[in-house]
């Protein structure tokens, strides 16, 4: 019966299902590389989801929706930035508070927007490329945000590995004292990273409410932000692995639903837990070599910085 699942459609829907967590995880990766742990991803995602939804419905343009979502996510993360970078509040507690705030706030401003259909996000017309057999439906028939997320993986990878700014950002994340001694503006760099993370989480949320579901429902992220956080660790802070992790997680989720729909006789419980099981498995495999895994974790992750200390 497995034969009745069309692998081409499966891969295409896997990419759609994974895009929200991919975007959010990429943003969080940059934040954590700068030495900041922002647990508010879920809150920023859902705020982006409703802000993007409202903007798209009011203007009729999904593009405006995504811009608004990024702005809203960044605005929410600015609260986090002010609290943790200037007032030196505890990052874990502040991040959790941000999630709670985001969920409540989004429910409040989303009151009048339940049950409305957002304007459809058009698929990118890539002409003859879309008509290619096999590769066409998999790669060239998506909405623009899928390509934005993929481009972002490459951009973040290049930025962190190959650019001077990326090197500085990583230096801040490894040892803010050393970076400060060298004259780098630790707080400013971290705030920029936090804003980027917020914008990415907002985009991920808007992808849920504008493309993947597409509607606004309170609490609709349903834990996607936490999965994004886990994927950053899973990926040992590397953009390429974030892509692999997000697609693996999204892929197994979609696959298990497809297997059920196709009537494959595998006990459903195993299918349902498969995404989590595989995540744990990969974590074990990755962390088998302790020294190398620890090497990649930003040394100053979650530590507050003040120039006086």
């Amino acid at each position: 019966m497995i034969g009745s699942i069309d692998p081409i459609l499966l891969i295409a829907s896997l990419m759609v299902a994974s895009t929200p967590i991919l975007l959010a995880a990429l943003g969080e990766l940059v934040v954590e590389k700068a030495g900041v742990l922002n647990l508010g991803v879920e809150g920023m995602m859902i705020t982006g989801a409703i802000a993007g939804f409202i903007a798209a419905v009011e203007t009729g343009s999904p593009f405006a929706g995504f811009v608004a979502a990024a702005a809203a996510g960044a605005a929410l993360s600015l609260i986090f930035a002010l609290l943790t970078q200037f007032l030196l509040s505890n990052q874990v507690a502040t991040g959790l508070a941000l999630t709670l705030f985001g969920i409540g706030f989004s429910a409040l401003i989303g009151q009048g927007y339940t049950g409305i259909r957002p304007p459809a996000t058009p698929r990118l017309d890539l002409g003859p490329l879309s008509d290619l057999p096999v590769i066409g439906p998999i790669l060239f028939r998506h909405d623009p945000m899928v390509y934005v997320s993929l481009a972002l993986v490459v951009a973040v990878g290049l930025f962190l590995r190959r650019s001077r700014a990326g090197l500085i950002l990583r230096a801040v994340g490894e040892s803010h004292d050393a970076a400060h001694a060298l004259g780098y503006k630790v707080v400013r760099i971290r705030i920029l990273a936090i804003l980027f993370g917020g914008a990415c989480a907002g985009l991920g949320g808007a992808y849920l409410s504008l493309v993947r579901v597409p509607q606004w429902t309170e609490g609709m992220t349903a834990g996607a932000g936490w999965i994004a956080l886990a994927i950053v660790v899973f990926a040992s802070w590397r953009p390429g692995r974030v892509l692999a992790g997000a697609y693996l997680f999204g892929g197994v989720t979609v696959l298990q639903l497809n297997l059920q729909a196709a009537g494959v006789a595998i006990p459903v419980q195993y299918l349902s837990m498969a995404p989590y099981l595989i995540t744990i498995l990969v974590l074990v495999v990755i962390s088998a070599d302790r020294s190398r895994a620890a090497l990649n974790a930003p040394a100053a992750l979650g530590k507050s910085f003040h120039a006086s200390s």
Binding site: T217, E218, A224, P267
Partner: protein, 360 residues
């Protein structure tokens, strides 16, 4: 208004409250509701909250209601209900199956607080249960589904493999088969009541398998939003009317109407006549309503569906009437025999013709 008059004003208000107090016969009855999803799901929890609002409207000052939304099933529910009981709630409605054991645990600790648990089967002196015969509505939806499908494949998104959901799947299938012997049903278990993204993914997986009628027993409108993306796919509102998706893909709906029950139970509390009961109302009692059947459905199908709903309401027809066999082919109900409530309340098997196993 300067500060002095403000102070005077509030002093007067305080005095008024103080004076008014003895005049009140008693404190308002405090009633708690806990919901498994957000009220804004426009489905299950939304309908329960409509019931709460109806109670407020009916009794006015005599009652005070509080509610908690998105309370996870399990230990967290126990904490939430304990908190409500400590806050002075005398009647607590726990509105999801998974609150069953937490309700029993908390009820044992607060013998003076009465609990109402939706869709469960465990009762105590201060725990009543109530449920609606959703399967009666499913019979009507199944009839429409069987008539409307062109691919002869209908899909069903189940939440958890519990009797309430299994009744719905069986009832849908029996009545779809009755009008269309070719029909087949694919069941996908989402293992969640509320996760719009996952519900949409499940609907998508079904549609990719050629399904053109989607039924859902989860709480959000996401399956309908997904169905709307594909031409020719229809679905049904679940728990709430979901009219935003009418006339298509939403062609009809099962609407839960809890208001009459809630008002009745609160009245009993106020009269001091509350006892632990097990209530199970259906179309006839008005607890299950059939949402408007839209113009996307041909007239004769609509008439057939409404006639079935009418027969069920008048108790002339029971959706589980023999001859029916279980999935493995063994006999369940003989010709003309109807299922008893005890069997339905514990239903853990598919009827003959449905493929796939129920996860245990």
């Amino acid at each position: 208004m300067n500060r002095r008059t403000l102070l005077k004003g509030s002093a007067a208000a305080l005095a008024a409250v103080g004076l008014a107090r003895p005049a009140l016969a008693q404190e308002p009855l405090k009633i708690g509701f806990i919901y498994v999803g957000p009220i804004g799901d426009l489905g299950w929890s939304f309908q329960h909250d409509q019931g709460r609002l109806a109670v407020e409207e009916e009794f006015g000052d005599r009652v005070e209601t509080v509610y908690l939304e998105s309370v996870p099933e399990g230990a967290d529910a126990e904490r939430a209900m304990t908190q409500m009981a400590l806050q002075g709630c005398k009647l607590i409605f726990a509105t999801s199956f998974g609150y069953m054991d937490p309700v029993i645990n908390v009820a044992a600790k607060f013998p003076d607080v009465m609990f109402e648990h939706a869709t469960g089967y465990k009762r105590a002196d201060n725990v009543a249960t109530y449920d609606a015969r959703f399967y009666e509505g499913r019979a009507v939806m199944g009839t429409i589904a069987g008539r409307m499908t062109k691919s002869n494949k209908i899909g069903y998104i189940g939440s958890f493999p519990i009797p309430e959901v299994i009744q719905g799947i069986n009832s849908t299938f029996i009545h779809a088969r009755k009008v269309n012997p070719e029909v087949e049903i694919s069941v996908v278990w989402a293992y969640t009541w509320f996760d719009p993204a996952k519900e949409a993914d499940a609907a998508k997986a079904l549609i990719e398998q050629g399904v053109d009628v989607i039924l859902a027993h989860t709480d959000s409108t996401a399956p309908l939003a997904e169905a709307a993306k594909t031409e020719g796919v229809i679905g049904f509102g679940q728990a709430s009317d979901m009219l935003d998706f009418a006339p298509s893909p939403r062609v009809s709906a099962i609407v839960d109407n809890w208001a009459p029950y809630y008002i009745d139970r609160v009245q009993k509390m106020l009269d001091g006549a509350w006892t632990s009961t097990a209530t199970w109302g259906g179309i006839g009692e008005g607890e299950v309503q059939i949402g408007e059947i839209t113009s996307a459905v041909p007239e004769e199908v609509k008439a057939e569906a409404l006639a079935l709903a009418d027969a069920i309401a008048k108790k002339e027809y029971h959706p589980f009437t023999g001859p029916l066999n279980k999935q493995d082919g063994s006999a369940w109900l003989a010709e003309g025999e109807t299922a008893d409530d005890a069997t339905l309340a514990g239903m853990n098997f598919f009827v003959e013709g449905i493929s796939g196993d129920i996860p245990s």
